[in-house]
Symmetry: C2
Subunit: 200 residues, 2 copies
């Protein structure tokens, strides 16, 4: 009996190979041939699973994003409110090889999403889910009396999540200036403002 | 006598054509052939001025960035402190065709800079100059008594400039949620916190 092919597994393996290629060679350097080479499948099989490079990039980001969400879930697990929020903010920063790889793929996908409406739609959904996770932490922090009821959780979630996106992009570009110490101070400082209500 | 060739002008024309192509077709869709077609020069001439696509992208970003800096200079001219800071924050937002084009090219360049150390070095320099322009506004605002002397201008400049980067990326992805009204409120709200020292 011929071995059954696990299509989802193959697709995931190709997406993972693509993620590695994009993070190392960039969008332009990543070819279907290179993805095939890294995944161990033929060019024909890669093309069977993905209709084009845009498709592979989207799958690579989905793959990386899944990994990111598992890590975030793990690092915020058992935490609530401010404590969870702090962990969530740390979790996205490009401070090691794994998170830097995620940001490289994210940026590649963003540059694709900027011109491709289907990719942009996916990205909008991801941004929304990110804001919602931030919002839940903030709501819990308000409930627990950790931060003032005067804080609007939806607005604060939007502010914090876009701030973290910008800071992460900057840190990917300049890991010396945006050092781990500086980023820790930044997160502490930002959360402290939410807690004390004092900005200075 | 043969017409003298203005090399800088040719280079700029090719970079401008490349910028248009990247903003419309993305990094992957932009070929040397397409840049040649749009600039009206031959593929050979494009290749004479730029050693590769990375080169053209860097030049396209430089071109767009120059335009951005001219606009920023114009919109902040005659303004000081908080007033200049507000104008500077508005100036970068992807609210019209021109600024959206700039962000598309910026994102393409960032995804290149994430894997290319020469491009990253350029980007670090640009981030530094951006922080410095923010810092000067904040220093003036402190001097004018518009914001408290307790604010550290360098730190606030870093925070505001990375925040604006993140917000702009989010707005490029979701112009409906990050509407003009929402972005205006966001800027007013952020500046208001600096002025009052109250975060709520």
């Amino acid at each position: 009996m011929p071995k059954l092919v696990d299509h989802a597994e193959r697709r995931a393996a190709i997406a993972l190979a693509a993620a590695g290629a994009i993070a190392e060679l960039g969008l332009m350097g990543t070819t279907v041939r290179e993805i095939a080479r890294r995944s161990g499948f033929s060019k024909g099989i890669v093309e069977h699973y993905f209709s084009g490079k845009e498709d592979v990039i989207a799958a690579a980001l989905e793959q990386m994003n899944k990994r990111y969400l598992v890590r975030e879930e793990k690092q915020t697990s058992g935490r609530l409110g401010l404590d969870a929020l702090r962990a969530r903010m740390y979790c996205v920063l490009p401070l090691d090889k794994e998170t830097r790889q995620e940001w490289k793929i994210r940026l590649s996908f963003w540059s694709l999403a900027a011109i491709d409406s289907a990719a942009r739609k996916e990205q909008r959904q991801r941004l929304k889910l990110t804001r919602e996770r931030f919002q839940i932490d903030i709501e819990q922090a308000v409930e627990a009396g950790e931060i003032s009821v005067a804080v609007d959780p939806a607005h604060a979630a939007m502010q914090l999540s876009s701030f973290m996106a910008g800071v992460s992009c900057c840190a990917l570009m300049d890991s010396h200036y945006y050092s781990k110490t500086m980023l820790s101070e930044l997160i502490d400082n930002t959360l402290n403002k939410l807690v004390t209500g004092v900005c200075l």
